[in-house]
């Protein structure tokens, strides 16, 4: 057990739980407070919160581990895709979704297309977000077992229940404010680690890269089929739009103006994170220890161990946990909203009291994390690959119906349903079939979903006047001073 690191990580976990308890009463007062923090989040808090929600363990451990194992092009592809995710959000959906006034992604589908699409969307959200917990719990287990000196399985259970506690208690309020802290820790942590690495090399990045290429001559080369890189790219660049845990941040913003500015600053923060991550990945390759690891994502922790004193290592490890928790809590909230708000209140019990709905949401979070823990005890792949699957599945399901639902008046309910079900089913069949390289499934499933939305809409159109009015409302001009 590493005492200094354990104390720092322990203090961090206690701090996050205190935030959850602090916001408990406010969060349970209404559904708006529990799921969207009363739609009152400003630009500064919102920027770090949306950055922390999208930057998971995958952006730190996963991208670095994947980069060292599969080469620098893999790492840069990751950055090329995921740093573009938030710009796509603001170009195509942030302001419009904020104007829609809904609370969740399935809520949007109900507003635009009706209850049938909402139900399918809620089921997809719950499935995808539950599976998305697996790589987060895997990373938590790796860090926990390293720091606390306990076995991997126990670490998964303890840390999984730990972050569920504050998310379940404090809802979006707690999640947003813990994400603010977590986002800052992540950013500072990775920049400090990259700085320590470069400082130890006399600020000579070229020399470090040269050393990495000497240890592993394939580090700078493309080692995988083109489809693997392209599949990762399109799954990640669309991730901000199709991931309910990220999209819900737009609903928490005070106004469309704030939603856009939050994503803008978060994009810059994310780019800085990956610039520092490139230094860590290069140092990881130069260490030449990737082949001795059972789990190659662990290389990130080895870099921390090699380059930092224990007190700084503790802070960085807390930062890694922050990355995991800040994304996992947002996923938990999306799952919770999918079941409690979209399925329970939206379909099963429309008269349910708000306190009952938030109570159902709280219980669902614990069920979901339990399921995630079961899978994470024997993870099915590299963290980055697992995240790629989730991104690809959501893109194949939601990408076309969501974007066309906002931008095309002609998108009909039948078209959205066909695109959503067709895309999701195609992705699952291709993934199970294993005919394509890893993470390449959305290259087929997404265009198919897009074609289905367009063709079926044209056949079943026109849309109702109400649907056409909704699209006009999403794009209505916003008075200059509202909500700044």
């Amino acid at each position: 057990m590493r005492v200094t690191e354990s104390v720092l990580v322990g203090l961090y976990l206690v701090g996050m739980t205190v935030v959850g308890i602090y916001f408990y009463k406010r969060a349970r007062s209404s559904e708006d407070d529990y799921f969207t923090a009363g739609r009152s989040i400003g630009t500064f808090v919102g920027a770090f919160a949306i950055f922390a929600a999208i930057a998971s363990s995958s952006s730190l451990m996963g991208a670095v581990g994947g980069g060292v194992a599969l080469g620098l092009p893999y790492f840069v592809t990751y950055a090329f895709g995921v740093v573009g995710a938030l710009p796509l959000v603001i170009f195509l959906v942030a302001g419009q979704l904020s104007k829609s006034g809904v609370r969740t992604v399935p809520d949007f589908f109900r507003q635009r297309f009706g209850v049938s699409v909402q139900i399918v969307a809620a089921v997809i959200v719950v499935l995808a977000m539950t599976f998305y917990l697996v790589p987060q719990l895997t990373a938590a287990g790796l860090i926990g077992s390293y720091v606390l000196g306990i076995n991997y399985g126990t670490a998964v259970v303890v840390l999984g229940l730990g972050f569920t506690l504050y998310a379940a208690l404090g809802g979006m309020w707690a999640i947003t404010y813990t994400d603010l802290v977590q986002g800052m820790i992540m950013l500072v942590g990775i920049v400090v680690l990259a700085g320590a690495i470069l400082f130890s090399r006399g600020w000579d990045f070229a020399g470090l890269l040269d050393e990495a290429l000497t240890v592993d001559p394939a580090f700078g080369e493309v080692t995988q089929p083109w489809m693997s890189y392209f599949g990762i790219f399109i799954a990640f660049i669309w991730f901000g739009i199709i991931s309910p845990s990220v999209v819900m941040r737009n609903f928490a913003s005070r106004s469309p103006f704030v939603a856009r500015r939050s994503s803008m600053w978060a994009t810059l923060i994310y780019a800085v994170l990956f610039a520092a991550g490139a230094v860590v990945a290069t140092a990881g390759a130069a260490m030449g220890r990737i082949d001795e690891l059972d789990n190659r994502d662990f290389i990130f922790i080895l870099a921390i161990e090699q380059y930092l004193p224990s007190i700084l290592a503790g802070i960085i490890l807390a930062g890694l946990l922050a990355a995991i928790m800040s994304s996992a809590d947002a996923m938990l909230l999306a799952i919770s909203a999918g079941v409690a708000h979209d399925l329970y209140k939206g379909v099963i019990n429309r008269q349910a009291a708000e306190r009952l709905v938030t109570g159902v949401g709280l219980a669902v979070m614990f069920l979901a994390v339990g399921l995630g823990i079961v899978f994470a005890l024997d993870p099915p792949g590299l963290i980055a690959v697992m995240v790629g699957w989730v991104g690809g599945f959501l893109l194949s399901s939601f990408g076309a119906p969501l974007v066309l639902g906002i931008w095309w008046r002609g998108a009909t309910t039948a078209g959205a349903l066909a695109g959503m079900v067709g895309g999701a089913a195609t992705f699952v069949v291709l993934m199970i079939g294993g005919w394509f390289p890893t993470n390449a499934e959305p290259i087929i499933a997404t265009p198919l979903s897009l074609a289905l939305v367009i063709v079926v809409s044209l056949v079943t159109g026109p849309t109702t006047p109400r649907q056409q009015d909704l699209v006009a409302r999403y794009h209505a001009a916003e008075p200059e001073t509202v909500g700044r």
């Binding site: 573009g84 170009f91 660049i237 856009r260 803008m264 994009t267």
Partner: protein, 75 residues
Amino acid sequence: MSTTRRRLRNEPGLISFVVVILYSVFVWTWWPADVLIGRISLVIPLMSLGVALWVVLSFVFVFWVERLESQESVR
């Protein structure tokens, strides 16, 4: 709130999106995986440049749309 909608060709969001698509198509159709510069594949600097482009585009878009909304609210 006005419900007038800008013409599609004047939508900053769509124009910015088209720029993203064009640069992405350029990188993924060219994909110079075997061209090495100092022992690293050319795809690395190409995609790194793309990351910088995404950041710049997000700032350009936000200030552009705010300016448009400011003009529209005055009308």
